[in-house]
């Protein structure tokens, strides 16, 4: 059987169309998806891998995806599903919380700097310990700023399930967040 490949040069119409589609995807969606994936999975390397896998699949059928009402939500759904799927399949992509120095470098300067760093570090670690779907709900709600109906679209579930996940996740976070005053837990 021959292993020769078909030409991959820029003269190929299909390649040109695909390249344009990829340019569109990169320009309009890559930055946001990378940030979302980084928050979702916790580290940049895995986020880059995951987003690449998704966009490699998405760009070849971009014409269809771009005609959707919310292609941005569809791509987030693909990224989220890929993340959940990887976790199920391999169980090796564990979250590695950054050390204090890294987090300190990203912390905002207002208020008591050291206190903010410690509190945020603890909150991030509690966040990473949540079940994946609960965490995804919180990332979509508090980082992406999506409404519960939009989150339901991303996760392929109902609004009630989203609210349930969010409620459980917030309760767990408050319970473990040592900086939350006892009367407010």
């Amino acid at each position: 059987m021959s292993t020769r490949t078909r030409p991959a040069g820029p003269d190929s119409d299909a390649v040109t169309v695909a390249a344009r589609a990829l340019d569109d995807v990169v320009r309009d969606h890559l930055p946001g998806l990378l940030r979302y994936a980084t928050v979702l999975v916790g580290d940049g390397h895995t986020a880059a891998d995951l987003v690449q896998e998704v966009l490699l699949r998405a760009h070849v059928r971009w014409t269809r995806i771009s005609l959707m009402d919310r292609p941005d939500l569809y791509l987030r759904r693909m990224v989220t599903n890929e993340h959940l799927s990887w976790r199920r399949r391999w169980h090796v992509r564990t979250i590695q919380p950054a050390d204090d120095a890294v987090l300190a470098s990203h912390a905002r300067p207002q208020g008591d700097h050291a206190e903010h760093v410690v509190r945020d570090d603890a909150l991030w670690r509690h966040l990473t310990a949540l079940p994946p779907r609960q965490r995804a709900v919180l990332v979509l709600r508090y980082y992406e700023g999506l409404a519960d109906a939009e989150i339901a679209t991303v996760l392929g579930t109902s609004g009630a399930t989203v609210r349930s996940h969010a409620s459980r996740a917030l309760a767990a976070l408050r319970l473990t967040d040592l900086t939350t005053p006892p009367e407010d837990r």
Binding site: M1, A8, G9, A48, D120, L123, D184
Partner: protein, 236 residues
């Protein structure tokens, strides 16, 4: 929900958002991921059909053979469909660890050659130049160049810039791997780049290229890095 509870929730929500935004600031460089994505898209287009990838050097090795306790038949098929994915890499490692001679990589193109080629900083356009120079297809070009790197030789075409943009002054600006490593390896963070963008009145890529080149030239950029160089690794 009581008003008091609402206030508490808002405060907690603000903290959650802040923590996530801080984490988002550690996202990998968009230009680098875009370059890798374009390169992989070109590879994806150039690679043979998956059924071909299952035949290596006359040894017919079907994904169906990779079964039993590993239970990776489906994963094997997925690996063959995209031999450059992390899934493929994991499957390859798993099956080879138990003595099965199987790889999702196309014939004549090894994992080591693939890694050596892309780790050297090649982005994609150079593949075309190597193909023309050697009069071979894309896989053989990458295999040859990757093997040369493994053997300590320099391929006849050097890695090009990560990306090229139109600069604010109208000239072409190249953002190279060396500039990328210099910038991020010095502890610069995205907020620093944003400050440079504002200061110089240029686009983000040009700011990164200019600052990276200043560091390479031993000149201190006008905005100091907010982070530390420790733990820098390309792409993350």
């Amino acid at each position: 929900m009581t008003p008091h509870r609402r206030v508490v929730d808002d405060d907690f929500a603000d903290r959650l958002t802040r923590v996530m935004q801080d984490r988002a600031a550690t996202a990998p460089d968009v230009d680098t991921v875009a370059a890798a994505l374009r390169a992989r898209a070109r590879e994806q287009d150039a690679r043979p059909a998956s059924v071909v990838a299952l035949h290596r050097g006359g040894r017919v090795v079907a994904a169906g053979l990779v079964t039993g306790s590993l239970a990776v038949a489906g994963a094997g098929a997925a690996a063959a469909a995209n031999p450059y994915s992390e899934v493929a890499r994991a499957v390859e490692t798993a099956v080879q660890a138990v003595g099965i001679d199987w790889s999702p990589m196309p014939a004549g193109y090894t994992r080591d050659q693939h890694d050596a080629f892309w780790d050297a900083g090649y982005v994609g356009p150079e593949v075309d130049q190597l193909m023309q120079l050697w009069d071979v297809d894309a896989l053989e070009a990458k295999a040859r160049a990757g093997q040369m790197i493994l053997d300590g030789q320099e391929p006849p075409v050097a890695p090009g810039p990560l990306t090229t943009v139109q600069g604010a002054a109208g000239s072409t600006v190249e953002y190279t791997l060396e500039q990328y490593d210099a910038l991020w390896g010095s502890g610069y963070l995205y907020e620093d780049v944003e400050a440079l963008v504002a200061l110089w009145g240029v686009e983000e890529t040009e700011a990164k290229a200019r600052a990276g080149q200043m560091i390479l030239d031993g000149v201190t950029p006008p905005v100091a890095p907010s982070g530390t160089p420790e733990g820098y690794h390309r792409g993350g």
